[in-house]
Point group: C2
Chain length 299, copies 2
């Protein structure tokens, strides 16, 4: 499917911004990259090679003037983003989509100083964004439904997996789910129930294997045999509610940080670079095998 994008802009050429540039150029979409740092062009070329169709400017207003969609990936500071979106809003045509990669701010806050907030929204990618398909799409109180739908369509056409949120919440969806898991994980390590290495193995050799393929609710549905999810919830429900009541609240302090850091060093210390490479390679293969199994759109 040809993405319905004639031209795009990326504002902020850090790691997230570069991954947007990579995605767009892979689909032969011309991109104007705006970054206040004049060395950004060299950084992007170093990371992606010389790309036809990539132009560099320092002024975000210039970058957005001719774009159908803008991916903002600047500093994670609300005042900076509000100022940036106000400037882009003033410079961009009315039908240009202005998206922010923000993980921490809501679109309602980000669009606060825009005269045309109806096309301002969050499109939050996930690390490493050049490999992980998920993009969370969420609008603010003044975002038009049509802008959300167009963004979802564009991202899907680019081979991403856009997930539409119907409400703004701190952490969107995926970071909340991660935070829920981390909370209990940290608690179990803080309490000395398992080592960090064993905690990681308990996920990566256990439920994590299934979550990579189908997600937590579909997985639970398949585990119920003929009766499916209803059977599971009616039987597992009461013990699960009891587990919920027993889940912990770690004390997030220096001692916990020390314990986690020393545990992860025991687990992977000194092998980080090699492990990141193996992980990223395995991640690419995992996406390929999912596509082959019909469990994921082809990238």
């Amino acid at each position: 499917m040809k993405p319905p994008v004639r031209a795009a802009a990326v504002v902020g050429a850090g790691a997230i911004g570069v991954s947007w540039v990579e995605l767009l150029t892979r689909h032969d979409i011309p991109v104007v990259v705006a970054d206040p740092d004049p060395a950004a062009a060299d950084r992007v070329r170093k990371s992606l090679g010389d790309q036809a169709g990539v132009t560099f400017v320092t002024d975000p207003a210039r970058a957005v003037a001719d774009a159908d969609i803008v991916f903002e990936a600047g500093p994670e500071r609300l005042d900076v983003k509000q100022e940036l979106f106000a400037r882009m809003d003033a410079a961009a045509p009315l039908d240009t989509l202005l998206t922010s990669s923000s993980s921490g701010f809501t679109p309602t806050n980000i669009q606060a100083r825009c005269a045309h907030p109806e096309r301002v929204l969050v499109a939050h990618p996930f690390n490493p964004p050049d490999l992980v398909p998920l993009v969370e799409v969420v609008g603010g109180t003044r975002t038009a439904g049509a802008a959300i739908e167009r963004t979802v369509d564009i991202l899907a056409a680019l081979g991403k997996e856009p997930v539409r949120l119907h409400r703004e919440l701190p952490g969107h969806v995926a970071n909340r789910l991660q935070a829920a898991l981390w909370r209990e994980a940290y608690y179990l390590v803080q309490e000395g129930v398992v080592s960090v290495a064993d905690l990681d193995r308990a996920i990566a050799s256990g439920p994590g294997l299934r979550w990579a393929l189908l997600g937590p609710i579909a997985t639970q549905h398949l585990s119920g045999g003929e009766g499916g999810l209803r059977h599971v919830l009616e039987h597992l429900g009461p013990p699960m509610v009891a587990w919920w009541a027993d889940l912990g609240e770690p004390t997030f302090d220096a001692a916990l940080i020390d314990r986690l850091v020393s545990g992860v060093e025991d687990e992977v210390g000194g092998r980080e670079e090699a492990l990141r490479e193996s992980r990223d390679h395995a991640l690419r293969e995992l996406l390929t095998l999912k596509a082959r199994a019909g469990l994921q759109e082809d990238q």
Copy 2:
């Protein structure tokens, strides 16, 4: 590595029991299977084919008399398990390991009526147990450390990923981590933030992809670049604690069950059998690619 097991017993020939039989016969270990149902032998043969070295009895005391290790996978009722372990404890040699696959009961409870509780412990596998490597190993207040270590060694030699818990907790470790994730997942669906299908995609095309490869804490460590986990925790810590405070408590009632069931039916309804097959096939390939990438022991 040759597993240090001369002979084994499996007590209870349901799905979990059958998967223990499959694992043991794959390593050429003779197994006596005990099940009160005389049709159990046919059921196991139908599932695994005719296996040399598998004997069937109805009396658990007979099954354990000559075993180095016993895998109990009977009904999940505490009175039944306590009675069963008392009988097995009386019949088995003193150095026979008596393990329970229980997900819901603690080893201290399971060993309560045994005269020799020092070799009684939980070895909890994970669904589908013939594919998922994780086995949680945890002793009760009267279990000997040596029994836990021997069980871990045996399971590792059988190609499983044993994870040792230093304390008994409801749900062990992996089910608590799952419950933490499900709680927030159900909450987000109950609140109408995302559809069930989108919730599943948010995990399976997002963090789930990474959890399958490295586990949540190692993943977080790798995301921190040079500074590693310490950098991540010092910077992400405060917003994460804020997210924790905002995570939800779903009301687990009939309306929630209806909503989840109708959502999962929209997502995968009618495709369950095909999906389970694709998932299991993909799961095998995922384990192979992890082994090739050095991220998982070969099965």
